[in-house]
Symmetry: C2
Subunit: 225 residues, 2 copies
DNA sequence: CGGCATCCATTTTGATACTG
DNA sequence: CAGTATCAAAATGGATGCCG
């Protein structure tokens, strides 16, 4: 099957030739926090059938954006990881996320799914390099049964699925409260008060945590323009 | 027609619900350099029929990303412009373009179309704010029969289709040479030597021009990863 | 020129069943 | 669990005709 293309010698169009098809950018989003197995990818993408998922993964492999790996022991199960080229789609994808946080979030709909990893990426999208100047710390986030960690190092941040080796601080929070904090402006302190969250570890690192992310104020797209 | 959605409470997915359909981001790209008429939009998007273009424009209007305007006299003809929300998709789109410049450009194919405006946006995508610190200048680019201008003001740049009011400097260049300069690393000085380009106006502004844009070194996505 | 409507051939997708 | 195979529904592309 011939691959469909916009036939434009334009950097945007060429990029969309590669990743503009339905599901593709969300698939890459899933991989931005680390390798994932076929079934975990599908679980994160309700509505994407196994056939299309397999086709998309093959496409990403063929185009050098992802590769099939074998997870290290004791798992030894197949999984998919981004290549360097794929990883570098992180910034543009987080750019789209930043736009969405400002202009498109609204309230969750009845039919919406939600995964903690998406909110974690949303946080990363709002990371403020200046606010992190001079800070070096590893945070672990335990959100219901999912665990993520963020490694902050002087203006940079790396966010991965799974536990940290040596976290400086650990935050435990319910998924619902995490959603409130990351997308509805609930302060973490309030979440602690209600018992939905708790924190432990280095108090200096914890004190700086909230200031590392600058959530945009949501705006309406209505015709006030 | 029911609008298709990913049904995810995720900023990236919500954004793609709005602009992830085929042609939509390229349509917005066309509008990033200023309002355009229906037929000019179609000319920039070969393969997009009038029906789908009309549908996409309606969708963007309904969603508050674009609006239909009437061009000022003497034109008085209808055109489409981005709203504030639409304009703010510029940075993510230029992020995708930056990725494409690095990982996906290669050589033009026989079947590729090309428009100077795309290369101008590519330039903007590579604008280096630090290099423009303290500079305030308006450049006009005359590329074959298309005219653009860039207004640089201390670390910011604005790029628009059409002539400038009071350009500090004007660059005249053939489309082919502009393509060589913006995507194949040909230096502007060399283009002048071959007679494909010429420049006039404030010499100080011209001297700084080339340094304002940091083109990424193209990379292959092959399995060296 | 600036669109909308219609018809039709192709692709893409979504959903499900099935296999190693 | 990791996919293939299959089929129906939806989106797209291209042509064409219409109308102000």
């Amino acid at each position: 099957m011939e691959q469909r293309t916009y036939n434009q010698y334009c950097a945007t169009a060429r990029t969309l030739d590669l990743v503009g098809e339905r599901w593709t950018l969300l698939l890459i989003r899933e991989l931005l926090t680390g390798p994932k197995r076929f079934s975990d990818l599908q679980a994160g993408l309700r509505g994407l059938g196994t056939g299309l998922l397999a086709a998309r993964l093959k496409h990403l492999e063929r185009e050098g954006l992802a590769r099939k790996i074998t997870l290290p022991p004791p798992a030894r199960t197949p999984a998919y990881a981004l290549t360097e080229a794929g990883e570098e789609l992180g910034p543009p994808i987080l750019g789209l996320a930043r736009w969405g946080l400002k202009w498109a979030m609204g309230e969750p709909r009845e039919t919406d799914t939600f995964h903690a990893g998406w909110a974690v990426l949303g946080l990363k999208a709002c990371f403020d390099a200046e606010a992190a100047a001079g800070l070096r710390a590893v945070y672990e986030f335990r959100i219901d049964d999912e665990v993520f960690h963020a490694r902050v190092d002087d203006g940079t941040v790396e966010v991965l699925h799974g536990p940290a080796q040596h976290p400086d601080a650990t935050v435990t929070i319910s998924e619902a409260a995490f959603l409130d904090v990351t997308s509805r402006g609930l302060s973490f302190a309030e979440a602690v008060k209600t018992g939905a969250a708790s924190a432990s570890g280095d108090r200096g690192a914890l004190r700086r945590l909230a200031g590392l992310f600058r959530l945009p104020a949501p705006r309406s797209r209505d015709i006030t323009d």
